[in-house]
Symmetry: C2
């Protein structure tokens, strides 16, 4: 591990003793969560809506209070940088502040606000790290309004051009580029963005493992691969009373049969395979009409690329069989495809080491969800810190992480970042990871 | 059979020689179908929408041109009556002019416009039948906006009060009574309405049988029973990536499993059992969120009440099993329940006889769909005349019946109605059918 030094400081000060302000962090989480707030808790700030704009403005205002160097890029990603002693690549933190329609106030937001908290803690201590510190929030991580998910970080690392992303159309019909303009977040900083020295993202686990095992900190070793497909099934609309079962070409039945197959497939392949049909739309969606068409989404994930491919192949096979037997057509469109990602080994070790140094219990684990860190891992060493999710609930207004756990995670993030910020370019292996290790996009 | 006489007419005239004007009928079908017209044909005039209002106004204008006695009742049913020689109960024809969202221009409309055509033909001939002739259109037969279906005729026969019906809320949230007022069709004629001497409804088959067997006229013996349920499934919204399959309580999966079960159930029970899940709504309906809840509709139909009850019982049993195994709750609400209906034997014979007398081929058959005639059969002898549907298609913009078939059907209707209109009260059994024969509503 690298050694931390504080060369421009008096002898009594050690950055190791720095701690973030847990109350300030909680206050900000709650204040940001009130924007787009839902009855019973949680919030809805779909990417580039009015609510997202208001949330962005609040976080930018907090960045401005710290007098950081704020940049907005061509896809609406926002970075805020505290200068270091030397003009080196910054150590970057961050996540996203968009949410799903029934989102919690922690998912994404916690990574951004702990990043801000780390910077505020360092700045107010008077200590100036060797490297600049950057906190970022990336556009449309959830993909709940514009597919694919992790779009902002995808564009940040140059895997999609901003121009291509601008033409993506939302589930509500809006064009991404127009929405960026509308909310005032089409910035002038070009994409792809500057590759940082390293990237560390703090996030809630969004699963039940840490809580069940009473572990403080999840040391994230990588992210499972994701396959998102949209299937459009076209059959024959008909009267629900007069059309004998044998003469039906029913897209609603086919949609249902595929959803049941996805469940069976995931069960059969076993953990960590998951499969979800989260959206079903029938047309015309009436009680007494055999639908003319149906659209469903299929979300398949696995940490093993081979098994994920097998799951995709078996789904395709099932669709071909049922399309033929029912006399419907099924058109499959890939909305997103990411191979599993393994994080930088040295950084993963550092997260584990710093957590233990703070007296916290740790557990190595893959991430079941996609995160911006997996995009950043294409251009820089990256890692993640997980904190426990109560009942494993996320993407739900009941999402909750205890203030003490948030504070623990933020202090781990602080120490990992301070350690990285002290590194010279020769202190660690900062050559970009090989692309075939960190995942690449498939069509 | 009753004998037709023309006591107030010269010797060369016989009502048997009267024929409707097929071109006029076609013109009106097309003109009415243009209101709410859809690209590629068909039309959308959901009950009590602006489009329905415009369609109603057109038909009422045609009624007014014939100087008929037009009445609008408290549920928006419209009747138009041509006086007879004697003040007896009228012979009633009619159907509905509301459509499903992707409706054809024949379903319902044909029964109303052939009724109008019969009256116009009789009136212009100068012949005055013994009994008044009435043509009616009933509100919300489709049930596509307000459940249950056949609502207007249900209220007409007194099986539901107008007040209760006014409080029904549409799929778009509107209150039926408010919508009636809004479009100007909350009439002053009280419900239940006057029981006619007899009721005859011409309708397209909406199935493939007549066309396949090259038969001109379907002699409808009764209507299959209908069971409509709405199932609301409540589970646990969760992240689609981080929630292991074994920990899921997924209402989307349960909705799909029920839809697949309904298909298997109908196949297993065999014809004429049909089963359809035509509407599925997931919440929040997003690609990466296990839904929190799902709502689906189940439409079960059979001509055999015992088997229909068996189908319902097996569905309930399946729901209980899957609710327990998945850890969700399922709330079932009956949206409509009608027992199978058998039409008046004497009237069914008359339809067959008059069609054959016109040189047309006939086939006795049950109706697979619900129709206003089954409601009227609770208070008067009722029957139906079917004409062939090309490819059996209905509830679809491709719905089509050949002009020659419409004309044949309308001439059968004309002769059946003239025969009925000549009857004295003692000529036929006009005692109301027993309620347990003509179906009763269940909760």
């Amino acid at each position: 591990m690298s050694k931390l030094t504080a060369p421009n400081f008096d002898d009594s000060f050690s950055p190791h003793r720095l701690r973030i302000d847990g109350d300030r962090l909680t206050r900000r989480l709650v204040e940001l969560g009130e924007i787009g707030g839902l009855e019973g808790g949680g919030c809805a700030r779909l990417a580039l809506t009015d609510e997202d704009k208001e949330g962005r403005n609040l976080v930018v205002a907090w960045m401005a209070e710290l007098d950081l160097d704020i940049r907005i890029d061509a896809i609406g990603n926002v970075t805020a940088t505290l200068p270091g002693r030397e003009d080196l690549d910054p150590v970057m933190m961050g996540s996203h502040i968009d949410t799903v329609q029934t989102g919690g106030i922690y998912d994404g937001n916690l990574g951004v606000l702990t990043g801000l908290e780390v910077i505020e803690t360092v700045k107010k201590s008077g200590f100036v790290p060797r490297r600049p510190l950057t906190v970022a929030f990336f556009t449309d991580e959830e993909g709940a309004r514009f597919a694919p998910d992790m779009l902002g970080s995808l564009v940040y690392v140059g895997a999609m051009s901003a121009e291509e992303a601008h033409d993506i159309v939302a589930i509500d019909g809006a064009r991404l580029g127009d929405e960026l303009e509308r909310i005032g977040y089409h910035g002038s900083t070009p994409c792809p963005g500057r590759a940082p020295h390293a990237f560390v993202e703090l996030h809630i686990e969004q699963g039940p493992v840490l809580e069940r095992e009473a572990i403080d900190i999840g040391v994230v070793t990588g992210v499972q691969g994701i396959s998102w497909q949209q299937l459009t099934i076209t059959g024959q609309s008909a009267h629900a009373g007069t059309t004998p079962m044998t003469l039906r070409r029913d897209p609603g039945y086919v949609a249902a049969a595929i959803a049941v197959f996805v469940r069976r497939l995931a069960e059969e392949l076993g953990e960590p395979q998951v499969g979800t049909v989260g959206a079903i739309d029938l047309h015309p969606n009436l009680i007494n009409v055999v639908p003319a068409s149906a659209t469903i989404t299929v979300d398949l994930r696995n940490t093993d690329e081979q098994i994920l491919q097998k799951a995709e192949a078996r789904l395709t096979e099932f669709c071909q069989e049922i399309a033929e037997s029912e006399g419907v057509t099924i058109e499959a469109v890939s909305l997103a495809r990411f191979e599993p990602v393994e994080f930088n080994e040295q950084l993963v070790d550092s997260v584990e080491h710093q957590a233990k140094a703070l007296g916290l219990s740790t557990r190595r684990m893959p991430s079941g969800a996609g995160h911006d860190a997996q995009m950043l891992s294409r251009v820089a060493p990256a890692a993640m810190v997980f904190v426990p999710s109560v009942n494993g609930i996320s993407h739900n207004i009941a999402e909750f992480t205890k203030p003490a756990d948030n504070e623990n995670g933020a202090n781990v993030l602080l120490q990992v970042v301070l350690s990285l910020a002290d590194q010279a370019d020769t202190d660690t292996d900062t050559t970009p990871p090989e692309l075939n290790q960190s995942g690449k996009e498939s069509s």
